[in-house]
Symmetry: C2
Subunit: 545 residues, 2 copies
Amino acid sequence: MRILVAQINPTVGDLAGNAEKIVAAIKRGKSEDADLVLFPEMALSGYPPDDLLLMPSFITDVEQALRTITPHTFGITAVVGLPRHNPGIKEKAIFNSAAVIRDGGIVKFHDKILLPTYDVFDERRFFEPGSQVTTFTHNGQKIGITICEDIWQHSDTLRFTSYYRDPVQELAEHQPDLVLNLSSSPYSFEKPYRRLKICGKAAETLRCPLVLCNQVGGDDSLIFDGYSFYVDVTGELLAHAKGFEEDWMVVDTEQHTQPVPFHDDSIGDLYRALVLGLKDYMHKQGFRQACLGLSGGIDSAVTACLAVEALGAENVLGVSMPSRYSSEHSQTDAAALAKNLGIRYITIPIESAFTALNDLLQPHFENKPPNVTEENLQSRIRGMILMSLSNKLGHIVLSTGNKSESAMGYTTLYGDMAGGLAVISDVTKMQIYALARYINRNEEIIPENTIAKPPSAELRPNQLDSDTLPEYSILDAVLQDYVELHLDAEHIAKRQKIDIKLVKELIRKIHCNEFKRRQAPPTLRVSEKSLTRGRSFPIVQKWVK
Amino acid sequence: MRILVAQINPTVGDLAGNAEKIVAAIKRGKSEDADLVLFPEMALSGYPPDDLLLMPSFITDVEQALRTITPHTFGITAVVGLPRHNPGIKEKAIFNSAAVIRDGGIVKFHDKILLPTYDVFDERRFFEPGSQVTTFTHNGQKIGITICEDIWQHSDTLRFTSYYRDPVQELAEHQPDLVLNLSSSPYSFEKPYRRLKICGKAAETLRCPLVLCNQVGGDDSLIFDGYSFYVDVTGELLAHAKGFEEDWMVVDTEQHTQPVPFHDDSIGDLYRALVLGLKDYMHKQGFRQACLGLSGGIDSAVTACLAVEALGAENVLGVSMPSRYSSEHSQTDAAALAKNLGIRYITIPIESAFTALNDLLQPHFENKPPNVTEENLQSRIRGMILMSLSNKLGHIVLSTGNKSESAMGYTTLYGDMAGGLAVISDVTKMQIYALARYINRNEEIIPENTIAKPPSAELRPNQLDSDTLPEYSILDAVLQDYVELHLDAEHIAKRQKIDIKLVKELIRKIHCNEFKRRQAPPTLRVSEKSLTRGRSFPIVQKWVK
């Protein structure tokens, strides 16, 4: 059996465009002499469409779009993911389905059984769970269909949930010859390795090969990495599609194939994920150009490099906005970076605006001494300048804060937080350093001084991040334990061998700054648990532990 | 049987404080000679705790707090809502439960069966559904327990969901003498009437009286109205607690009671909801003072009145920030309002800051003509001034945009949208007028000119809202049909008898401005469907219909 795995990059809601991609892949399947073309979960609608799914006319339009695909399936089978009306509503009006299409008609639907409702997933909000596992016959072979989460319960590695049922076990009883999985499984750091393991585990139990087709592309905060897999009955990897780009591969289950290794490049994957997420966020909205503040620091440097890779140097504008507290090197480092990247670079000193605003405000400050207010003011003037350039020139502003400072609230609302996309706000400071080294792996793009100097916001004389924050290696470890693993302070202090008072203070800061993050631009989600997308803590609450 | 209905206002995560309120109510129950004290859903943790529920140590702490309550139940029964560990996990680690406590021990738990997962609710994210209906016996009487949504499926009025089961029907088979309902049912416009009907319907089927205790208070965006009910077997209202404040009432099921009417005051309820939401958002976080921009327009006027009612005039600062485009009346109207309210009032003209920033920016504007950039700049300078006052003086900034303009994106990100709380961003412009009349019902607090003049943002010469928007009565009707009822353009045009092109243009604007709303401050949710809390549309998507 020859299967074309069509790892496409659909756009949410672009039904005509997605249908076109699907038809093109079916045609390619024919020219490749494939028996079957496999698509990702919800390929036709894009995933996740969120509350579009609640609009009855959206579902009707998806079904209409499906009718434009079926005529292309004469002589070939296509398995296409889409949301569909639930004809016998018990709980919700729609299913998350896979349509098996052949010879111009729909042979069968499989409705997703396990509906993830944790972290970034809220499928119980929209879908009714499918009631049974599904197989169909093709040239005498029995083929099972699963959708994404359907195969995850079996691995027993889910951390935030569990299910009553295990479709892999149920399907195994049907003794399939092959199982397909339609996925829209978002990237997080090192997730592709985990997904491969899950596939292997399922194949072993099913006692047959498994072919998984994963969506690729960015949709708002989520990034889908692709890396579609073909594993044999022992769970060995026989083939995989590329990561972070559209790709297709032909799997022939009757041909003997040697196992292939899966690459080991976590930081490279993180880099490619961010580039793809940034590119698709911009291009899928029709934006070509971006601007960002260049402070001479490592965060804005890494963000600029990602932007250049995603959009091209000609579409990136770097803006230096020095104040009275900016060091000499903040401007020389920023300028050197801009030169290395070949981007446009302008300088707008903020002193006159700061003075004008300060003069307006001082009479109303009740003679209180300078504090964070004046620091925020500088940051907000910069945010306002970038937003004005954006409004006038049609750029999207990229904000440059990282996850570690976002967790601590070491950011200014409407200041450095301003922008259309928070490119690295789910990347910890230690990962930022790793990315900088990755970017410089062949030549110095980010000036060495930017990487080497101690981090500073430069909002008051001689300010350093380390004045108020612990070392980033410690901070990041606490973040991981608290935010991703949900451990409590005592446990974290023990595990990381640090003072429990420090741990508690860091946790307190995470909670206290929820109000800022609530107003943050969308982040590119690249960790197991971002601080914004898929995490939802109350602002008004008193439990901190 | 005498029941004390303890309509308390818990704070999310304030386990000690909530336990104290619960113990105080039990003591009051004893002094009132009650057999039973009934509390709201999740009274001990506060509702909704969101992802606090995912922290195992939070659940442990809740159970610890429960142990501080049990010793107070000698001689009395308390039915207390709380999250609890699920001892036999199939899906999720916790239940949403009601503990029946008596004589120092836990008699029984009821675990909520129907878990709302739509609109603002995401209970399947956290909880495993309870498996069975629960009754317990008290002085020979069989008492059924239900938690909030458990009684809603029966009414067949749920719009976004449905359930496999109907606990009311299941409970009816047990022939209870009385059924209790613990609720944390959030307010939306005219929701109390709906909730009363649902109670009546359930009581009729159960063939017994029903006592519902609803949480009161604001938690982030959600406002709980209280209005606990006691209905008889025919569904008639026999008693209700107050709306929008802590209250308690004693229900004696053996005493003959005459039906009472339920008041008819939708706009008064809306007003009280906003006041409570604002007060609790501030006070539960420890803030006493607020500041806001006073433009002389109706939105900021209504917001100021709500703030004064919630916080006291001495805690509200009104700031007039005139620009070159501000009309004479914008300042006289704002000053008159401030005088009527007795609040502090300052004027900070923004001209010098506007000039300074404009001078910095113009050289980089590539000779493009003035456009929305300069309008946004004025708005952002005002946002920055308010945030600086907030930072220096410890205020929370209240933003003053309404739902109609938020839907249209007729707002400036980091400008008039800036603030800690968007007080009226779920209130349509037509409702704003109704609130203004309500506020002025006894005397002129909001200057008549503020109400009568045509709305304008005053960001360019002679600007009026009606330059770019249709009449608000039309806009609001489309909003309701599209956002609340999920109708499509064709249906709306027909229903409202307006041009379909206009409807489509308005719908397009709703979608296009999703990116702004994503960064809006928390709203006070007072409609069936707010634009932010409980509504989740992708930013990057192409379907508009």
